[in-house]
């Protein structure tokens, strides 16, 4: 059963990913991205990360991709880029070589270490079945989040502040001077 789901999800992911890099039109690329994101979400569920799956769908597909599309429309940069021609010489072959090498190395590492990944280091995740508590996953995440990781969590806020200020700085009209009113 898992296998079937996995295969389907993997297919979604990969097809979407390939779509992102081969579709000439940015909008199409964005849409294929959505496909990938959904596939990843499915795989999350398969990995008992229900909460993350939800967030994935909401944040990514919901917010980020929409943002992408929005900007595309805003700037009207929906001009298709011609992927047939490659202005920079040896860029594509290089990309292929690099990609191949990267993949080879990563897979080698993963396969070589397939049974060396320690198990049961933490308290375990699969608690819904044990405690019968349907939202144990969320609770667990929350405890972790506000436990030892609270510092990181607070850092996120700094990150968001930066993002906000950043957009303010960047989006001001060139001639306008002074702070935002």
């Amino acid at each position: 059963m898992d296998l079937v789901v996995f295969v389907c999800a993997a297919a979604m992911v990969l097809v979407g990913a390939v779509g992102v890099i081969v579709r000439n039109h940015p909008v199409h690329a964005a849409l294929s991205l959505v496909l990938t994101l959904f596939g990843v979400a499915v795989l999350f569920i398969l990995q008992e990360a229900e909460f993350l799956a939800a967030v994935q769908v909401i944040v990514y597909s919901g917010a980020i991709v929409v943002l992408f599309l929005f900007v595309i429309m805003l700037l009207g940069v929906d001009k298709a880029e011609n992927l047939q021609i490659e202005p920079i010489p040896v860029q594509r072959p290089l990309a292929v070589v690099v990609g191949g090498g990267l993949l080879a190395m990563l897979v080698t590492a993963i396969v070589q270490a397939r049974d060396s990944v320690p198990t049961g280091v933490g308290a375990g995740i699969d608690l819904a079945t044990q405690t019968g508590d349907s939202d144990s996953n969320i609770k667990q995440i929350a405890t972790d989040l506000f436990g030892d990781r609270v510092f990181a969590f607070e850092l996120l806020s700094v990150l968001l502040i930066v993002a906000v200020i950043g957009t303010v700085v960047l989006s001001r009209k060139p001639d306008k001077v002074g702070g935002p009113q």
Partner: protein, 109 residues
Amino acid sequence: MTALLAALPVPTTTWYLVLAALLFTIGAVGVMVRRNPLVMFMCIELMLNAVNLSFVSLAKQLGDIGGQTTVLFVMVVAAAEVVVGLGIVVAVMRRRPNATADDLVELKG
């Protein structure tokens, strides 16, 4: 039928990791071959998703919730990145409409 399904092998962590590696590679290649900055961002998003996928599957394997929390962080980071990135693109595009990454080669040498 169910028996058949049950007989199928259960995908191990390694499967997920390999899939993530694939996804990551595709994203990386994308950054190298695409010229539209927006699409480049999307490719970076792909890479981040690959990372998330690995995290989640490793979290499962390790039985450690920390992996999932990390993914949460990464998602926020990704969002923030996109916001800033798009901001920059907007700023650029305002000056140079329809500019691709290859058009921005004033600085070199």
